[in-house]
Symmetry: C2
Subunit: 288 residues, 2 copies
């Protein structure tokens, strides 16, 4: 573990239970290893707490590296995503993945592309006065968080950026404005309503048929706006139309609607489907 | 904590992280509290390891009790179910629930209703020679495990029994043979092929129109047997037909098929749907 001068690892939670059993096609499965670190960010001028899920089982192989999933709103979805990845990789349905859960401090600041004080209902809301921090946040990730992870963990080059709601517009914004940072994107119920549909307009400009995007994107909606007088749902349908009609070369995409899920229950099912979609063609390495 | 004479609590893993943030409709959510206990069972004449997920947030209320979900194959599905319950109860989509994950020792023994050495493919398999332990296992639960949980945790009277594969036939068998033990049952891809379709025949006898079953049951299948020369899928369809055609008074049921999920990936989606089904009419208590 190097790089300790600018990063403080203050708490390691490590549970490794080895049990034995005789199972019907089911071996035992009990490796959970999550770490919590704090990064004193110079870019953001504040300390940021990060949860990290490390694939322990496979870490014994000295040269093995893993894809990394950078997860926004880590405080909400880290445990579910870590449990999915631990379980699915054990059964070789997806590869083992490092999960980096970024804990929110001011998500209206970090997870919005522009400054605006207009809320979801079109009303002025002064609590949005810190908004517009996406670019600043991307700089934190690019110059501090990602280098830290790549220095201190067995991180491979493949990176996934995952978010929900404001986190969803943040991952889409990053795909368009910093296309070199990540390989795959998950945008669950992206808040495309933000700032007079700023991200939809950005997509209109960026998604040209000639654009080359060697990327994967999964986006979804729940029941938001389906029976309401607002455009949450139709905005995502418009985004989907842009993707479908302009099909940028090299962009693999999937849109899924979950009409039975609310804005807050949808991430449970959508994150699962997103992982399965991104790794639909993945095959486990041949055993030697 | 009483009752320590016959139960040894040897390891407590407790993580309670309190963080602060300014979120957009999302408060922070960081309570994970899982315990691991070992019960030296007289009935089974062996020690049994149990994982327990306790709703910590709400435990401050002195008189509050929680439903309890008894989970078979705890080594496989405990983390996912605990994460679901922690998340969904935080957003008041379902109530907080205590999860009791029973770690397998010999699941072919504990989780089969009868003795048989015929495997899934109709061949003799001597590794099934310990099979047929359901009744013995139910006695362990009834006389040792459930009393322990009810003595040492804030367990209410509502109990759910959940299992997958052999665990699925075990929960169905328990519903028919010990109907007073549980209120709700989850049977994910139950191995109805077992012992010449023993559980299907039992259902045929027990599911009469006049039978009163004040119960809830969720059962499901993945892609098993859909394109294969075996009856895994059609057996569950037959079970469903028995339920639908005889509709016992007071039995609330739901069958769901997941053709895109394998035997081992299906529990992830099916356990979520099962929780949502069992608590579809649940409403959070009114705030005082």
């Amino acid at each position: 573990m190097s790089n300790t001068l600018y990063c403080i690892k203050y708490l390691i939670l490590f549970l490794l239970l080895s049990l034995q059993s005789k199972g019907q096609n089911v071996e035992l499965f009990n490796h959970i290893s999550n770490e919590v670190i704090t990064i004193p960010s110079k870019v953001l001028n504040e300390e940021r707490q990060i949860y990290i899920h490390v694939p322990k089982r496979e870490s014994a192989s000295p040269n093995k590296t893993f894809p990394v999933l950078y997860l926004l709103d880590g405080e909400n979805h880290f445990h579910i995503l870590s449990a999915y990845i631990d379980y699915l990789s054990y059964y070789e349905i997806i590869p083992p993945i490092i999960v980096v859960g970024i804990i929110s401090k001011d998500r209206r600041k970090d997870l919005t592309p522009t400054k605006s004080t207009i809320d979801y209902f079109g009303k002025i809301d002064s609590t949005y006065k810190t908004s517009g921090g996406n670019e600043h946040f991307f700089q934190f990730m690019q110059s501090e968080l990602i280098p830290y992870i790549e220095t201190n963990y067995k991180a491979g080059s493949y990176k996934i950026f995952a978010g929900h709601s404001f986190g969803g517009i943040t991952t889409i914004n990053c795909m368009f404005t910093h296309p070199d940072m990540f390989n795959a994107y998950i945008a669950i119920s992206p808040s495309l309503w933000w700032d007079n549909k700023y991200i939809l307009k950005l997509a209109e400009n960026k998604l040209t048929k000639s654009a080359y995007l060697d990327k994967i994107i999964f986006y979804s909606t729940g029941n938001e706006g389906i029976n309401e007088q607002n455009s949450f749902h139709t905005d995502v349908l418009k985004f989907d139309s842009l993707i479908v009609n302009r099909t940028p070369k090299g962009l693999l995409y999937k849109y899924k609607c979950y009409p039975e899920e609310s804005h807050m229950s949808e991430p449970i099912v959508a994150y699962y489907d997103a992982l399965r979609f991104i790794y639909q063609d993945w095959k486990p390495p041949l055993k030697k």
